[in-house]
């Protein structure tokens, strides 16, 4: 069962449209070790140092950034579903929760 959240932002990359996986809260580069294959990264923003970890992910949510931020560019180039500018995402999405990132409808849902 899915619970829709009020989380929304700007769809930076549609990718495959829907990604279902474990949300990993990444506060800074030191947290990147937590990323496992098929995770969805939730971060304030990304930069080149996040790229190897992003290669493992199936989705990306960031709090900051617009159309030409690193997260948006990386996601578009790699066909990765990505929503940027999701306010307070790291506090609203529980670390380790199973979520659905839907770039078709610009929604983020928790799976109960």
């Amino acid at each position: 069962m899915q619970t829709k959240t009020n989380l929304t932002g700007r769809v930076a990359s549609i990718g495959n449209g829907i990604a279902k996986g474990i949300a990993r809260i990444i506060n800074n580069e030191s947290d990147l070790d937590k990323i496992q294959p098929q995770d969805i990264m939730v971060a304030p923003q990304t930069d080149i140092n996040y790229v190897p970890a992003l290669e493992l992910c199936i989705g990306l949510i960031t709090e900051q950034g617009g159309r030409f931020c690193h997260a948006a560019i990386y996601s578009r180039e790699n066909n990765l579903p990505c929503i940027t500018g999701v306010e307070d995402a790291r506090n609203k999405i529980p670390d380790g929760a199973e979520i659905i990132l839907d770039t078709n409808s610009n929604t983020i849902s928790l799976v109960d």
């Binding site: 800074n28 580069e29 030191s30 070790d33 294959p37 304030p44 930069d47 080149i48 140092n49 790229v51 190897p52 970890a53 290669e55 493992l56 030409f68 560019i73 990386y74 578009r76 180039e77 790699n78 066909n79």
Partner: protein, 327 residues
């Protein structure tokens, strides 16, 4: 335009020469050991960003002029060389500095950062600002000639301006180089095996360490483990990028033909594509390898972090300088 593109390649060579010379003078293992023992390695990029973007800092540079593409290219060129040079000098000084030297080191680091920042993301005359101007002009041109048969305009605009499709994009180069490294060698690097591994990998080990790992072997090995897990994807990714590059060339040709077919001149459109590509290259190659997100930035941050220890976090950069002088 070709002359300018060549000058960027010269810039990259100059920067590489500069840093290779530094490696030779200081010894690669000494640089690696300094970085490995550095408490700031993990989070310095974010901290650096926060520091320069908060406190309403007053930067000692002039930005009251009308920016141009050529002007930016020239300044970016000079600034990149100076930033790396300052980092190599600071590295030497940091090892032996006392508190009384710190205000001087800080002044040098701040001036270097100010020069870099003027060409950066938030500057009124910097690279992103210039990029926005060019993209907005491109948008206007596309808007005037677009026909539904071309597809979704915003999506195609993204294709035209994507960094990965630019020359030598680091976003493409990083995974490509790790894929090559895995094919050629695939061994974990240590200080003692670095020389032999570097030979086996045709110099890729040192190149990756220098350009993408801030000279940290730990970081290199961590990235290697991550890339091993997605190795199969790396091959697919290289093909995907090649396809997208081809798509961009075809799209550019199609739009240029359309402009000419309705009596316009495609020259400016083609020039814009080339200029945007060029700025992407500065942003996604030179900036990634030689700016504040890489080793030179770590060294600048070491000075800032030392200063913050004495002055606390809640003061502006210029205020810190004044406090230091009075210690």
């Amino acid at each position: 335009m070709n002359t300018k593109l060549q000058s960027t390649e010269t810039l990259e060579k100059k920067l590489e020469q500069q840093i290779l010379q530094f490696e030779e003078q200081e010894g690669l293992s000494n640089i690696i050991m300094y970085v490995e023992g550095n408490e700031h390695l993990k989070d310095f990029v974010q901290k650096y960003q926060n520091e320069i973007r908060t406190h309403q800092n007053e930067w000692p540079y002039n930005d009251s002029f009308t920016p141009t593409f050529l002007g930016l290219v020239h300044r970016f060129h000079q600034t990149s060389i100076n930033y790396v040079l300052t980092a190599t000098n600071l590295f030497r000084l940091l090892k032996n500095s006392s508190l009384s030297d710190l205000s001087l080191l800080y002044e040098v680091a701040i001036l270097s950062e100010a020069a870099r920042g003027r060409e950066g993301k938030r500057s009124k005359v910097g690279l992103d600002y210039q990029q926005d101007i060019l993209i907005s002009e491109l948008f206007t041109i596309l808007n005037n000639v677009w026909i539904p048969e071309f597809g979704d305009m915003e999506e195609k605009l993204n294709t035209l301006v994507q960094t990965v499709l630019s020359r030598h994009s680091s976003a493409a180069e990083l995974p490509e180089n790790y894929a090559k490294y895995i094919e050629l060698c695939n061994e974990v690097v240590t200080l003692s095996n670095l020389e032999s591994i570097d030979e086996k990998s045709n110099g890729l080990a040192r190149k990756l360490l220098r350009e993408f790992c801030c000279y940290s072997i730990t970081k290199f090995n961590k990235q290697l483990f991550q890339y091993r897990e997605v190795y199969a994807k790396l091959k697919y990714k290289a093909d995907m990028i090649a396809n997208k590059r081809y798509e961009k060339i075809k799209l550019t040709e199609m739009i240029a033909n359309r402009i000419e077919s309705i009596g316009g001149q495609a020259t400016r459109f083609l020039q814009l594509i080339e200029q945007i590509d060029y700025l992407n290259y500065l942003n996604d190659n030179i900036d990634v390898k030689y700016s504040f997100k890489s080793w030179p930035g770590l060294i600048h941050w070491n000075v800032f972090a030392k200063v913050i220890q004495y002055t606390g976090t809640e003061v502006s950069l210029s205020e810190r300088g004044r406090i230091l002088i009075n210690i």
